[in-house]
């Protein structure tokens, strides 16, 4: 008689905890073969609102952590994910179909992306900062700083890699984020949340919601506490509507093509330039 296994419940990831949606809703996820897999939470605008509150309160601690400390935590996320490879691979195969080899490659690339960005934390200001030779007796330097709270709508096709490609560069530099996962392939996002929750990442730095992009994205785009948006995963049909909403507080809104680039960090940073006289 074979053992009956314990099926995972997929809840939201907000403020370092795993609550169900305050709306009590969920939706059905079927696999590539049409079979039922799970009923993840269907997030509401109130869940999104709570996530933004969480991300905002986590911002001052995360942005004032040393770059070295952030790098250590991102590397730890990679360590934890590596230990949970099989779980990710299983979920990807179930959702996307495809071979074990392809699923393994996606997971390895996702882990390596965390490592890549972990190594960027304490280097980005060396690359993007400058001392500026202005014509006068002043010391003048430019330093890039974190932007604030960033809203991310993850790649809808990739269940894992596109998600990591978006969130790692945002948090590496000290931003916090609210993320809308892939609507049809949300499960690895929640398993990733479990890795985040056990990796020393402070609560609220990353908040991950599963649900309908068309329902949640407008609330993300219009929220006045959010400073920037990564809309790489958004359907071009609703893009201008989101940009118009985001214009209300001049959010920095970006859509990226390249999955791995320092540009993805710099897009969500602000350059601060300081002048100081030189004189005895």
């Amino acid at each position: 008689m074979s053992r009956i296994d314990i099926k995972k419940t997929y809840k939201l990831f907000i403020g370092g905890q795993f609550p169900r949606s305050e709306s009590g809703r969920s939706y059905e996820i079927k696999g590539a073969n049409g079979k039922f897999i799970a009923n993840p939470a269907l997030a509401s605008r109130k869940d999104l609102r709570d996530s933004v509150t969480s991300a905002k309160s986590a911002l001052s601690g995360w942005s004032s952590a040393t770059a070295f400390n952030r790098g250590q935590i991102l590397y730890r996320i990679a360590e934890i994910m590596e230990g949970r490879r099989d779980q990710f691979v299983t979920e990807i195969i179930a959702l996307e179909g495809g071979s074990a080899k392809a699923a393994n490659t996606q997971v390895e690339q996702a882990i390596d992306l965390w490592v890549w960005y972990a190594g960027w934390c304490d280097k980005i200001s060396t690359i993007a900062g400058a001392t500026n030779p202005i014509a006068g007796p002043y010391y003048n330097f430019t330093t890039p700083e974190e932007l604030g709270v960033v809203g991310i709508i993850a790649d809808q096709k990739d269940s894992l890699l596109g998600l990591v490609a978006a969130i790692a560069p945002v948090v590496a530099t000290g931003n916090t984020a609210v993320v809308i996962a892939s609507e049809k392939r949300p499960l690895p996002a929640i398993t990733l949340s479990e890795a985040l929750a056990t990796s020393d990442l402070p609560a609220g730095v990353l908040n991950i919601l599963t649900g309908k992009v068309s329902e949640l994205a407008p609330w993300l785009a219009s929220h006045m506490e959010i400073d920037g948006l990564d809309i790489s995963g958004v359907d071009p049909k609703i893009e201008s509507e989101l940009r118009i909403a985001g214009a209300e507080n001049l959010k920095r809104i970006h859509r990226f093509n390249k999955s791995q680039s320092p540009q993805r960090m710099l897009a969500f940073m602000e350059a601060k330039t300081v002048w100081h006289p030189i004189g005895v």
Partner: protein, 482 residues
């Protein structure tokens, strides 16, 4: 006041945390091998002269073996490996060093004589951080502003000093490996043990054989390494005297080299300094690591109008310095690393007496065995005194005064060295003005002896060539990049 009722009871760290072998071979091609001539020499604990172990003397043919192993590893494995994967080995090394941190700290203290508080809180964490930082560069060299797809030299020969054995090893090996070179490293003969423990870490990290080779020995081994034709680049930290020898030899061989040499740093205290923190900075500047620091603030240059008050505070603070068992967690000042170094310190200090400066030390009980020197200041020092010009490399501070800021800068710069300097003032523009005027590669304002893997370190003039750490520290390990 009578005896202080709050005398801190002994608080020794446990020596049992580390196990030291009776003897060590050489670490070549991923394995332990005996030196060709079977020569071994003793290494002692300078706090009590106890023999800790026997270390191999690598002969010319051992050096040759090591260089060949490094070359083979470079050609067959390391140069073919993508930066991303090279970086992962460095991350592993960093993590293992963090895991074994306490072991490394105790071993460093036993071998070097420095207080456990320093090896635990400074040396070891910085060394691990150095590997962590450079691990992240391995696959980002295109972004370092040093050209697209910059190439490593190949095999690098590295010679490190005895004052920060593990940290200097990290400063050398981490950037070399991150940029794609392989390494033959020789630790100082009085402090080989943490380098040999590091070899174990390489094994635990499964670093491919031959990428890192550790060969122990004295100056002869070092010379053999520097002169070996199979070495593409040299990295040396040590005395200016030996640095010049190396510079002369590569003038003929054409190898490139970075040199991190001596210093006689000025620590300038202006009248508007935050006085209590300045006193702390002066003490830290010269007594940290027993003054065995190339960038030590060995010349205090203080504005004459605050001289009296500052000296009162400085002497009071010095009388709180706890000299003694380096393994005691409350010790501030440990042992001098060797009899030879102690003799040098005594000789130069004696010159301070004969040349007319005034020596002062707080009352301290120095242990009877081992090599010890009380924290010392000389006042009434002028630029022409030997103790103002020559590097003492011990816990001895020369105190000079200045009347105007311009005079402070002139005195500070009046030396063939140019490694570091300190500025104490609450006025930002003054600090920036002084930073601009000082000819030193590392300038600390309202702090001293601060190091970070992201911060380039190195000197002007006879303090050496090149920088270590940060983006600038990568350049010397890449061909074509300067």
């Amino acid at each position: 006041m009578d005896k202080n009722p709050f005398e801190y009871a002994p608080a020794p760290e446990s020596r049992a945390l580390v196990s030291i072998k009776a003897q060590y071979g050489l670490f070549i091609n991923g394995a332990w091998v005996e030196p060709k001539t079977k020569d071994k020499f003793s290494t002692i604990n300078p706090a009590n002269e106890e023999v800790l172990s026997k270390i191999s003397q690598a002969s010319d043919s051992d050096v040759d073996r090591a260089v060949k192993a490094a070359r083979a590893a470079y050609l067959k494995t390391w140069s073919k490996m993508p930066g991303k994967e090279r970086g992962k080995y460095l991350f592993r090394i960093a993590r293992i060093m963090q895991e074994r941190a306490r072991e490394f700290a105790v071993l460093e203290t036993l071998d070097n004589g420095k207080p456990i508080r320093e090896s635990r809180d400074v040396d070891v964490p910085l060394a691990a951080a150095h590997f962590f930082y450079h691990a992240g560069w391995a696959d980002k060299l295109d972004h370092a502003g040093l050209g697209i797809n910059p190439k490593p030299h190949g095999v690098v020969g590295q010679i490190i000093p005895w004052n920060f054995p593990l940290l200097m090893l990290a400063w050398k090996i981490a950037p070399a490996l991150a940029t794609g070179n392989t390494v033959v490293l020789k630790p100082a003969e009085t402090t080989s043990l943490t380098a040999l423990l590091f070899a174990e870490v390489c094994q635990q990290a499964e670093l491919p054989a031959g990428v890192v080779n550790i060969i122990t020995g004295d100056g002869a081994t070092g010379a053999a390494l520097v002169n070996h034709p199979g070495i593409d680049k040299i990295a040396f930290t040590g005395s200016t005297e030996v640095g010049k020898l190396i510079a002369r030899s590569i003038a003929i061989s054409g190898k490139s080299a970075t040199l991190e040499l001596g210093g006689k740093a000025a620590n300038i205290v202006f009248e508007d300094a935050p006085i209590d923190e300045a006193v702390e900075g002066i003490v830290n500047g010269i007594f940290f690591n027993q003054g065995h620091v190339c960038c030590a603030g060995s010349r205090l240059i203080v504005q004459e109008n605050i001289y009296d008050d500052l000296l009162v505070k400085l002497k009071r603070r010095m009388s709180l310095i706890r000299v003694g068992d380096p393994l005691d967690k409350n010790t501030d000042l440990g042992a001098i690393n060797s009899a030879a170094q102690l003799a040098k310190i005594k000789e130069l200090s004696a010159s301070g007496d004969t040349e007319g400066a005034f020596r002062w030390s707080p009352d301290c009980q120095l242990p009877s065995k081992g090599f010890w020197f009380a924290p010392t200041i000389f006042t009434g020092v002028t630029q022409s005194h030997r103790i103002a010009r020559e590097e003492i490399f011990g816990p001895v501070l020369s105190v000079l005064t200045f009347r105007t800021p311009q005079e402070a800068i002139e005195k500070a710069n009046n030396t063939p060295y140019g490694l570091s300097a300190g500025i104490w003032s609450e006025k930002g523009s003054r600090i920036l003005w002084a930073s601009k005027a000082l000819k030193a590669g590392v300038i600390w304002a309202n702090t001293f002896n601060k190091f970070d893997p992201a911060s380039p370190f190195g000197g002007y003039k006879e303090s050496g060539w090149g920088r270590e750490g940060g983006r600038h520290g990568l350049a010397p390990y890449l061909k074509g990049a300067k």
